[in-house]
């Protein structure tokens, strides 16, 4: 029997109170995610239970019990407090998936500061716009990433501390840099947990939109209620599970379901900090006897591409439940997983702003391959008309996915951007920006984004950001960025580039521009293809018409071009 039991019964009798009771939380109580994920589990008698099994490159491995994560997060929190970091100060985590990332996250929350995790592959420009928006006071990082911070440090007077967790003492530290080696720092047995309440800010995750700079999605400590219950009911985590969430905590899945969910449930989880290879992933599942695996369609399709023979080399019989998030899971991937693992991947749908799973295929229920599943109990959802925002009654008709605001993990605002936040609500609904239909059994079927944002490998990339970066290259006069189809990543970035006089298209220039964007923004944002063009399609008012280029890439109808400029 799964944790959720009967979906219909749960949906009929739902109240978030279920999670509050299990977490011994009452309205008005103090609530601190850092404490719930470590101290509370120890107080429940599970101090010696394994919390985190970490494996890095070249066979490096570390293990932490719940008491270890309690102590180490205390130690990091105490160190930050000693520097003068106060409640609601933003502390950025800019690291690979090393233990300090997970432990630092909890330590930051324990002292009431706001954790701002950022993907460690971000280039200096991506890093700067996010730190600048948040006015981040401290950043915790590794020596391999310090050079990116040094490039932009002069523009950030508010960034007082650059904390390097693996500093090489033979190398000099520069201005504002501090060495902090967790293993060499005595454990702090007790730390005063900051008295955070339900609406105290906890996490600031950045997400990209069609226009403008990335938005800082503000979450609060009360998000725990949704994250705890969705982990329990959707991912079906149980006392004896060994859980592997492959997401990087630089993105929301890596914190909601890679830290908060499993640790608040007191479950053992594994982390693999190594690049992708099918052999290594299967070996990891076999070695640690992983039972529940939460991954992404991109990874699943990469495994499909690696073939079925490699699966047979490993004993994957420990796997009990598989789930997926980040982008639509195509039916072929569901069918393939049933064939090779003997069980399907259960697709889940949510986004940075929702903070927790909103629509899902639930354990024990019928999976319709290619469908997103049903709304989580208690989530009032529908699809609405794109113009009127009225709910669509007809089954199968495409509209915008809409959720009635009010679930615990809902974002509270976009950091310093209330105006854009308010635009996310229409006719009393929160609109995530995705199109879908609903069938006669209530299953959602994903259709696509309602804007130009590119979802590549489950990560959102703003065409505006890439176009802005391209314009900074000396050879680029103007550009337009769209998605193009890709088997593994669903979509990848493609750029149409018009060169300045004096520059000629060449393979060398193509590669130079690709690498320029990769270093400035991130590998995700790097155009996988650049097409040099003499001009770009524009409206009569001069606005580049991305939709024409997009339609061309996807083999779709171009539609009305009556506003195109005369050539």
């Amino acid at each position: 029997m799964s944790n959720i039991g009967s979906y219909d019964k749960r949906a009929k009798n739902f109240d978030w109170n279920i999670a509050e009771k299990e977490l011994d939380y009452k309205d008005g109580d103090l609530i601190n995610i850092g404490w719930y994920c470590s101290d509370r589990i120890c107080e429940m008698g599970k101090a010696d239970k394994m919390a985190l099994i970490w494996e890095g490159h070249a066979g490096k491995a570390k293990k932490y019990t719940y008491n270890d994560i309690r102590l180490t997060s205390n130690t990091i929190g105490d160190f930050l407090r000693g520097l003068g970091i106060k409640a609601e100060d933003r502390v950025c985590l800019f690291m690979d998936k090393i233990p300090e990332l997970y432990l630092g996250f909890l330590g930051i929350l324990k002292i009431g500061a706001i954790a701002q995790p950022l993907f460690s592959a971000f280039g200096d420009e991506s890093l700067f716009v996010r730190l600048d928006n948040a006015q981040t006071r401290a950043i915790i990082t590794q020596k391999k990433h310090v050079s990116k911070i040094r490039k932009i440090i002069d523009k950030m007077p508010y960034l007082e501390f650059i904390i390097v967790v693996d500093h090489d003492p033979s190398k000099p530290l520069q201005e504002r840099e501090i060495a902090f080696n967790l293993e060499e720092t005595p454990n702090v047995e007790n730390i005063e947990i900051h008295p955070t309440k339900a609406e105290s800010p906890s996490v600031l995750h950045y997400t990209s939109g069609t226009t403008g700079q990335p938005k800082g999605v503000k979450h609060v400590h009360y998000s725990l209620i949704s994250q705890y219950l969705t982990t329990k009911w959707v991912l079906d985590l149980r006392e004896d599970d060994v859980y592997w969430c492959t997401a990087d905590p630089g993105w929301v899945t890596g914190t909601s379901y890679g830290i908060i969910g499993p640790f608040s449930l007191g479950v053992t989880q594994c982390v693999l900090d190594a690049g992708f290879s099918a052999d290594n992933w299967y070996r990891f599942i076999e070695q640690y006897r992983v039972t529940v695996w939460y991954s992404a369609p991109t990874a699943i399709r990469s495994l499909m591409k690696a073939g079925d023979d490699v699966v047979k080399k490993y004993d994957l019989s420990s796997l009990r439940h598989l789930a997926s998030v980040g982008e639509p899971l195509n039916s072929e991937a569901v069918i393939w997983s049933e064939k090779v693992f003997g069980k399907p991947f259960y697709d889940t749908y949510w986004q940075t702003e929702t903070g927790s799973i909103m629509i899902s295929n639930f354990p024990g229920m019928k999976v319709k391959p290619g469908s997103m599943g049903l709304a989580f109990p208690g989530i009032d959802s529908c699809v609405v008309d794109v113009n009127t925002y009225e709910p669509i009654k007809e089954t199968g008709k495409v509209g915008l996915i809409a959720f009635r605001p009010g679930w615990p993990a809902m974002m509270r605002t976009y950091w310093r951007n209330e105006e854009v936040y308010n635009k996310k609500f229409q006719n009393g609904w929160y609109i995530p920006g995705d199109r879908s239909s609903i069938d006669n059994e209530g299953y959602f079927w994903f259709v696509g984004r309602d804007d130009d944002v590119i979802n590549t490998g489950g990560h959102l990339v703003s065409p505006f950001e890439v176009e802005s970066a391209l314009l900074e290259h000396e050879a680029v006069a103007e550009s337009a960025v769209v998605s193009k189809p890709d088997f593994v990543n669903m979509e990848v970035v493609k750029a149409f580039v018009n060169l300045k006089p004096g520059f000629e298209p060449s393979k060398e220039l193509d590669l130079k521009i690709m690498n320029f964007v990769r270093k400035k923004l991130s590998p995700l944002a790097m155009p996988q293809e650049i097409e040099f063009v003499d001009s770009l399609p524009k409206t009569r008012s001069g606005k580049i018409m991305r939709r024409i280029l997009h339609a061309k890439e996807w083999g779709e109808e171009i539609g009305d071009t009556s506003t195109l400029e005369d050539d």
């Binding site: 592959a121 310090v146 193509d510 690498n515």
Partner: protein, 80 residues
């Protein structure tokens, strides 16, 4: 072969290594987290430009790109 190994090594260090991590011909690039799957596209493009070859997408796997030695073996295969 030695020249190719050195050329690829120099490119990898220039483009993908942020600090003073030592890179040998056998350093795991993909599984070692030095080159991610998205960046593999630019590395493949470099090899194709430099050696005037075309590597089929299904041969440009994380396994085949996991070290400079493996990359050069792949390149040699397509140089004929």
């Amino acid at each position: 072969m030695e020249e190719m190994l050195e050329n690829v090594k120099e490119y990898v260090i220039d483009e993908y290594v942020e600090d003073d991590t030592e890179i040998t011909y056998d350093t795991p690039l993909i599984t070692g987290g030095i080159v991610d799957s998205f960046s593999m596209v630019s590395l493949k493009r470099f090899l194709e430009n430099k050696y005037e070859i075309s590597i089929p997408d299904d041969k440009a796997t994380p396994e085949a790109f996991d070290s400079i030695n493996k990359i050069c073996a792949l390149v040699k295969e397509y140089m004929g």
